[in-house]
């Protein structure tokens, strides 16, 4: 039940912000500070989430095969690989390291 509450809130919230962007009159979101924050907020969230999902397990910090996988994804990004290749590299390298007992 709790999960459905989270899904409902997320779905409603995410749809509303999309709609607001399309409906809001020009200018309302044009204040420089609002624009700066809106550009930087995703940066902060994505960086924190990337780090957490790479280095945490059940609320504790751990270093495991995911670290190698995400490093491979970073390398693929530097080489300008397409999106699917980036994700694929992370998955394959993580699986490979685990298969080798890492």
């Amino acid at each position: 039940m709790n999960i459905w509450i989270a899904i409902g809130l997320t779905a409603a919230g995410c749809y509303l912000v999309k709609l607001v962007g399309l409906l809001v009159p020009e200018g309302a979101l044009e204040r420089p500070l609002v624009q700066r924050l809106s550009a930087l907020l995703p940066v902060a969230l994505l960086a924190a989430l990337t780090a957490q999902q790479t280095f945490s397990l059940n609320g504790a910090l751990v270093v495991d095969a995911r670290g190698a996988g995400v490093a491979a994804a970073a390398l693929a990004l530097i080489l300008r690989a397409p999106f699917l290749v980036v994700v694929g590299a992370a998955v394959l390298v993580t699986a490979g390291v685990r298969a080798l007992g890492g």
Binding site: L22, L49, V91
Partner: protein, 256 residues
């Protein structure tokens, strides 16, 4: 409004005189849009597997892709729930990640000039990829085609592959053995990388990583990400305090 969306496909067309946009063949627009839509749409499989692996049912997983339809928020919600976060903080983190779509919508509404009755439907497709493709187009016609084709392809494929992934998760057995738990962070990294253009953005990212990992062992699940979000206003505040005016000379004199 005029920053270059360098990563978007088909940008060579922008090399022409920006004042007189050269029309781009519809076929070329459709090809670019399909490329993005298919590549990203297929990664719904990773979401389906991740979500099912996190303990959500197939129905819940599919509801997320159908109703939320913004990948980063979906991965974030599922990750937070899997880590034992309460539904409110999990949804808050996912919501904050979705806020950027409001700014995409603002730019798209100027660019596409959609009729009022279309907007509530188009809104669901306002995401990173449709915006990138639409903004890369030289004319309104091709922007509309790019938005529609990318949105439709991505929405259909993302939902089909989500279902396939959620159903397949069981057949795969231990999804971690397949390395699929690395898909979530890899998706986040791929979305983050093009945003790290200036020192400010890199500083925010660095501070957020330190906050997110530092508070992880001591705060309830989901909360450290919200704390890490504070890196954005904090870095802006510190910069403002150092007297960075942005070189525009407005603000102070705006009163008159």
């Amino acid at each position: 409004m005029t920053d270059q969306t360098a990563s978007a496909p088909g940008s060579p067309a922008l090399g022409a005189d920006p004042a007189v946009p050269e029309p781009k063949p519809d076929r070329a627009v459709v090809r670019d849009a399909l490329g993005v839509g298919i590549a990203v749409g297929l990664s719904g499989f990773a979401f389906g597997v991740t979500s099912a692996g996190a303990g959500l049912t197939v129905l819940q997983t599919c509801a997320l892709s159908l109703l939320v339809f913004t990948g980063a928020s979906q991965f974030a919600l599922v990750g937070a729930l899997a880590a034992g976060g309460n539904p409110l903080t999990a949804a808050a983190g996912a919501f904050f990640l979705g806020v950027r779509n409001a700014f995409y919508g603002l730019r798209l509404s100027q660019l596409l000039r959609l009729p009022a009755f279309v907007r509530p439907f188009a809104a669901q497709w306002v995401i990173d990829e449709t915006t990138a493709v639409a903004l890369a187009q030289p004319t309104r016609r091709s922007a509309r085609i790019g938005f529609t084709v990318t949105g439709l392809t991505l929405y259909v494929l993302w939902n089909l592959t989500t279902l396939a992934g959620a159903l397949g998760a069981e057949a795969l057995g231990d999804t971690d053995a397949w390395g699929l738990d690395a898909a979530g962070p890899a998706v986040f990294l791929a979305l983050l990388a093009p945003m790290l253009r200036t020192a400010t953005e890199r500083t925010v990212a660095g501070v957020a990583v330190v906050l997110g990992l530092g508070f992880l062992p001591v705060l309830p699940a989901g909360v450290p990400v919200l704390v890490a979000a504070l890196a954005a206003p904090a870095v802006l505040y510190v910069q403002g305090g150092r007297g960075v005016r942005g070189g525009r000379g407005r603000g102070k004199e705006a009163k008159r």
